[in-house]
């Protein structure tokens, strides 16, 4: 369990830092960090976890608030264009017939919070900051369809993403380690897309957003995986030729090894 040890040491360091720095603040502010700013996809990659942790900074001057404080962590993958298809029964066959396309939806999306989202802030706040699966802006491209149809597609899209582990929303998964220190671990499944991820931490108090912090997380293939993928995209002809030569060589080798005399 390298991760937990690593995160424990980073947490300790963070704690020390927090104790040393005593800058004056008028309201609660947020300091947050991610256990690792890089996720490397190697040949034995089967998914990983990242730890998001931080502190709600306050000092003596801070007006103590009576309302409860809530922290929300949102991890958002690079945006992509996605089509959802629905099969219809046509001429006795189940065929992809109707579709809706969303032009920019996150390829990965995880929300962790200290409480149910509806207890943290009003829907307007949540919608504005794209917090929660229901509050992701999913506007279908082109053709106008009735609301029931749009909702059915939206529900199917979210269901599929949740099933594949690409979208998740877990309330009360964010723990307070002390009155001000919090942490949560976010699962990144094996099928996560590569690219720049945004990790945003929000601090709410009594339904009002007090502060937010953003970190960048890079998910990239490394080593052999990266070389292979880049070759296939940048030099497709060379990649194709390589594939053919490899196949010919394997076939030839097998012919030589298993040659019947």
């Amino acid at each position: 369990m390298r991760l937990t040890l690593h995160s424990f040491t980073t947490l300790l360091m963070f704690l020390l830092l927090a104790l040393i720095s005593g800058a004056p603040a008028l309201a609660e502010t947020l300091v947050s960090a991610v256990s690792s700013s890089n996720v490397a996809i190697t040949s034995n990659f089967t998914g990983t976890q990242i730890l998001v942790y931080g502190e709600i900074a306050r000092d003596a001057k801070t007006v103590s608030r009576t309302g409860k404080q809530d922290v929300v962590v949102v991890v958002e993958g690079p945006l992509e264009r996605v089509t959802t298809w629905r099969k219809d029964h046509i001429f006795g066959l189940w065929i992809n017939a109707t579709s809706q396309t969303y032009i920019s939806v996150p390829s990965f999306y995880a929300v962790h919070a200290t409480d149910d989202l509806r207890n943290i802030a009003s829907e307007d706040w949540l919608k504005q900051y794209r917090i929660g699966l229901e509050n992701l802006p999913l506007a279908a491209l082109g053709a106008r369809s009735p609301a029931t149809e749009r909702n059915a597609f939206k529900a199917a899209f979210l269901r599929s993403r949740v099933q594949h582990g690409l979208y998740s929303q877990i309330s009360r998964s964010l723990n307070f380690l002390s009155l001000t220190l919090f942490s949560t671990t976010v699962d990144l499944p094996a099928t996560i897309p590569t690219g720049e991820y945004k990790v945003t931490t929000f601090l709410f108090s009594g339904g009002v957003l007090l502060d937010q912090q953003e970190q960048v997380l890079t998910v990239a293939k490394t080593g052999f995986e990266q070389v292979t993928f880049n070759l296939s995209r940048q030099y497709p002809a060379a990649y194709g030729a390589l594939a053919v030569i490899l196949a010919l060589f394997t076939g030839w080798l097998a012919g030589v090894i298993f040659k019947k005399d």
């Binding site: 996809i41 190697t42 040949s43 034995n44 089967t46 690079p78 945006l79 992509e80 264009r81 996605v82 089509t83 959802t84 298809w85 629905r86 099969k87 029964h89 066959l93 189940w94 065929i95 992809n96 579709s99 396309t101 032009i103 920019s104 390829s107 597609f153 199917a156 899209f157 269901r159 599929s160 094996a190 099928t191 897309p193 590569t194 293939k221 052999f224 995986e225 990266q226 292979t228 993928f229 296939s232 995209r233 497709p236 002809a237 990649y239 194709g240 030729a241 594939a243 053919v244 490899l246 196949a247 010919l248 394997t250 076939g251 030839w252 080798l253 097998a254 012919g255 298993f258 019947k260």
Partner: protein, 315 residues
Amino acid sequence: MTRGAILQIYLPIAELPINVFMIFAMGGTVGFLSGLFGIGGGFLLTPLLIFSGIPPAVSVATVTTQIVASSASGVLSYWRKAGIDFKLAGVLLCSGIVGSAVGVWLFGILRSLGQLDLVISLAYVTFLGTIGVLMLGESMKAIMRRKSGEAPVGRKPGQHNWVHGLPFKIRFRRSRLYVSVIPIFGIGSSIGFLGSVLGIGGGFMMVPALIYLLRVPANIVIGTSLLQILGTMAVATFLHAINTQSVDIVLALTLMIGGVIGAQFGAQVGQSMRGEHLRLGLGLLVLLVGLRFAFNLIVEPEDLYSVSVIEGAVK
């Protein structure tokens, strides 16, 4: 790290991890059957990969690469036995390249329309269903005939059919043939086309077509068909790499290694079996794969919705 993680390998193009031993076993099983029946086995391997969760586009493109490897070792051994008509294979290959270029082009269009799965399924149902039934019928008849002691109906020398009346004739010395290029082009291009769209070599269609339509001698037919498949699939791999960019070299290599080993054992078992029994088995297998696809099309799916990411992220 869990024990399962050791067996997993991340596929760089398919962008998902897969169990190495599962792929190895699949390649080995299909290789065994291909050695047993003397076929490429693409029509079995592609569906197996699709049903195990690899995207259809990657499955189809990668199997074309695997077929190059499996047919290469076959070509080598027929070459040693002088069992290849290079001129005939060359003409078939040229038409095959035309067919597979059209196939790869159509593949890209269908993928962007979201109808690739449907076309693959329908084509599998149609072709495998028809060929499976024909093979079953033919092999059953042969088995009945043998039981009743009737002499098999062979090819009479000099016997001609309508194909031999067509114009633009070319002479093929090795096969002792003088036939029109039109049927050769037809066979080559349609199998090249199907090969690149369906991820199959088409040997199980090519061999009967060459025997029954063109009357190519039996000792030449398999070697020639294998060489044509090798060429067509090499071109299809290359075109897929450029056009659809869905050839996964790691997946291909794993399949190849399993496949070439399995094929050796299959060929040994196959030699001790009767021809019509082999054809009966192959016919059943072909029909079953076709029915499996038909099942997916006819039975209402559990989830009517499916989500597909369109290539090229925004921003």
